[in-house]
Symmetry: C2
Subunit: 576 residues, 2 copies
Amino acid sequence: MSFRLTKYMPVFDWGRTYNSEALSNDLIAAVIVTIMLIPQSLAYALLAGLPPEAGIYASIVPIILYAIFGTSRALAVGPVAVVSLMTAAAIGQIAETGTMGYAVAALTLAFLSGAILLVMGVFRLGFLANFLSHPVIAGFITASGILIAASQLKHILGISANGHSLIDLLWTLVQNLGNTNIITVLIGASATAFLFWVRKGLKPKLLSMGLGPKLADVATKAGPVAAVLVTTLVTWALGLDGWGVAVVGSVPQSLPPLTMPSFDPDLIRQLFIPALLISVIGFVESISVAQTLAAKKRQRINPDQELIGLGAANLGAAFTGGYPVTGGFSRSVVNYDAGAETPAAGAFTAIGLAIAALALTPLVYFLPKATLAATIIVAVLSLVDFSILKKTWGYSRADFFAVTATILLTLGFGVETGVSAGVILSIFLHLYKTSRPHVAEVGLVSGTHHFRNVLRHKVETDDTLLTLRVDESLYFVNARFLEDLIQDRTAKGSPVRNVVLMCSAINEIDFSALESLEVINRRLTEMEIGLHLSEVKGPVMDRLRKSHLLQDLNGRIFLSQYDAWQALIQAEQQPE
Amino acid sequence: MSFRLTKYMPVFDWGRTYNSEALSNDLIAAVIVTIMLIPQSLAYALLAGLPPEAGIYASIVPIILYAIFGTSRALAVGPVAVVSLMTAAAIGQIAETGTMGYAVAALTLAFLSGAILLVMGVFRLGFLANFLSHPVIAGFITASGILIAASQLKHILGISANGHSLIDLLWTLVQNLGNTNIITVLIGASATAFLFWVRKGLKPKLLSMGLGPKLADVATKAGPVAAVLVTTLVTWALGLDGWGVAVVGSVPQSLPPLTMPSFDPDLIRQLFIPALLISVIGFVESISVAQTLAAKKRQRINPDQELIGLGAANLGAAFTGGYPVTGGFSRSVVNYDAGAETPAAGAFTAIGLAIAALALTPLVYFLPKATLAATIIVAVLSLVDFSILKKTWGYSRADFFAVTATILLTLGFGVETGVSAGVILSIFLHLYKTSRPHVAEVGLVSGTHHFRNVLRHKVETDDTLLTLRVDESLYFVNARFLEDLIQDRTAKGSPVRNVVLMCSAINEIDFSALESLEVINRRLTEMEIGLHLSEVKGPVMDRLRKSHLLQDLNGRIFLSQYDAWQALIQAEQQPE
């Protein structure tokens, strides 16, 4: 139990102080989560285009590995809706659902995703997840929710449909509408209606009946289990599978099998970008949940160690018949609310699911796929939230533009295009904004030493002195902007004899900007105009001292803008 | 001559005041530039893998179109070294040199490049060129110079070699070394040595002989013409072409022909990215030269109109047997130094070249390709400048890293990979730097109202008050950084009761950062810690007023950090 081991395996941290109170809390949470996870795992496997047992398998070994390597005490790892959809989108392009190739591609995707997460963790690249802006994530999740719900409509109607964009999905659905199975629709529609009622109507009712809010919550979460039980029983009793109702069918009674991902270079090349997107999206979803839950107990999450935990979980999924997994929002919240104290709760959940895989799988033979689709639809519609459009419209048009593009491109071209375009667009918009920074011409507020924007305040100015405050770091994207600006402001006929750059908001001057300053200095020198700097920050000044600019500068460096004002105005006034 | 016309056709601006003095100056400059351009145009066509006349044609109509639409008075447009290399790299992958397909691909590349430049000009997208940082450009030009020189060695040795990376070039060269033609080597080596001497030794000599510096410069620039004349005469007189010396051969005696680029969608798809890179690189080279020359006379360049001028020039090249062109450094400097006053000098140069194309082409039949290669090698080695490595190493490691990667990738994988990687890397490094901004904990400098970094200055602090000055705009890439930082600094056991964010260096708070501030506020509220902002800038405050943050904030907004200090320290001290 060396220092290194504790660092990379947080289990040794919480494991040392584990006691019987924590044990009983963890056990209770595990039972509740297990019951909730059985239908959810089956449903998400269906969404990913995989056989139902893949969902159960993906919840067993990954949970245990995360318990050993992860830092969150409440996070529950396993298949989640968005990652399942992304899995279907990635593999759907290279293999047919139901084939051996499809299952192997899913294992390979989990393997690649695990490897990428591990490498990101070891090299501390967790910050890469920050390249997804909040509005892009919100837009992507909303659009994914719609896509997922649309993809499940076929199961509710008992027909086939496919496609990775909303239009493809709906179009193939409409084409096959004639084959609708009316009994399937009855089961699917009533399950959906029931689950919506459980979500919206049951909880207030239970609360008004005097049930505690936590218990009411657990009862609400048991809704899908009830729907599964009732529709399975009805289907079995009435032999509805003989009437065309698609059922889950026989699921092997087995612990997770030992499986091997494929190491075919062609397959790896095809799956690498999808695996990267799945890793980053999965990590963002997981870390958000983990941080929210940790903050409630003033616990700390280590993002780089989280990458290792999730990486290990995905590698586990790859070798035990699963598919890409991550820390899920709903399962983690249920785990937390049910009182889980340590990752041991996850391990107990894994045991519960292993028992289910061994003993309970024959019971789901008659479970209609329409019921699973109903649980998915009701779950994901809570992800759909267009309020981000209104919020960003009011606050920032650039963010609004990014979120709108992400939603439209995800719906129109699928998850991979949508999220990639969102990332590229937010980076581009940010660079674009900083390429035309806010520059204020400032003057002295009378009676003070303060300098303010001449357009916003009544200030003293002097025709021979041009003072510009650039409200942005100077770097290659905006370097030429400043050259142009100063060339404009000192063009033929201007009375300016001194230019002062007030640098209070300049946090960095990169090499391109340094060269631009040198060009500006050279041009102003030719025009016999002085160039001065004021209020340069410590770190920026340290950097400038390593360059030639300070020697070459035709003017001076002033500690404060007021010093510059006094020195330059007096120098101009003396000769007259 | 409406307002719009003058705006889009600067020719009407300078044309109105054209007089006989300007005419005579322009004519002299045109004669000098024409003499220099004849061998240069032939040589660059050779570099681009095109027949020699393509270089002449590419200098005629494009110059005239630029004279009409461009804003620089001294810029000379035509084939340049780097763009010729990029043309060879782009077309070499899809057609064999010397075939019809190759020539048509070159026309198509010019057409696409012209269209891209025009679109960028009309939509005012000139700022896209700023995404190339100075070090990336410097590294790219240096590596291109080496690649170009290496690609010309085969002509000096009289053997064949090809490839787009330095290793490929040198390797194929070594493999064919056995076929070296000794007479070609003699011509090539002596031409190279002569041209180097002209550049390094002749000018000082002429100056010491009492020649004026301008005249000495012109004489030096005539070196390639002398080399061409002498080696052509020797080859013709001794019949060296019969001894295996590769000569230019027969060049059609013709004005630029009317040609059509291909509109094949497949070809356009293949050439689009290369055309984009050529457009941006060409634009950057051209605008740098134009601005340098304009600044000397306090003239103005309009970058968006320059895009239109260069776009028109490239479209002209596409329809008159040329290939992509841009404003060249050496030809523009010669034009400027020779006294060109207006773009009319360019038009006269075009006439000179047209006469050459009609009358002089038979004279270059015996011109050895080795001589042309020598002129290229000597010209491009002046582009090679590794000092950028030393300069960036001293000033900024990120810039050093970007320039090193650009050089190595350009040499190792060719121009397209090199420049693309350089752009992506600089953007990534910039985002990375801003993702971990400099954050100073500040305290009060005794006896003043100033707050400074506690690590750099002796300041007063208070355990219950944590004041952080974030030296970076807050946006999605660093939003979570601040969340983590504040969570760390207020973790269990800390005595902090108030956190103040001093916002003097925050130029923007985007939607992601706004949400992070809301999360921070919520978490601090749960821990009963106050969150306050001070010195928020006008534009940032305007934006925040549109959000919920100001209502939700558990603390206050202070105009100055000193106000915050007084209010919060006193509030803490009163109850005690």
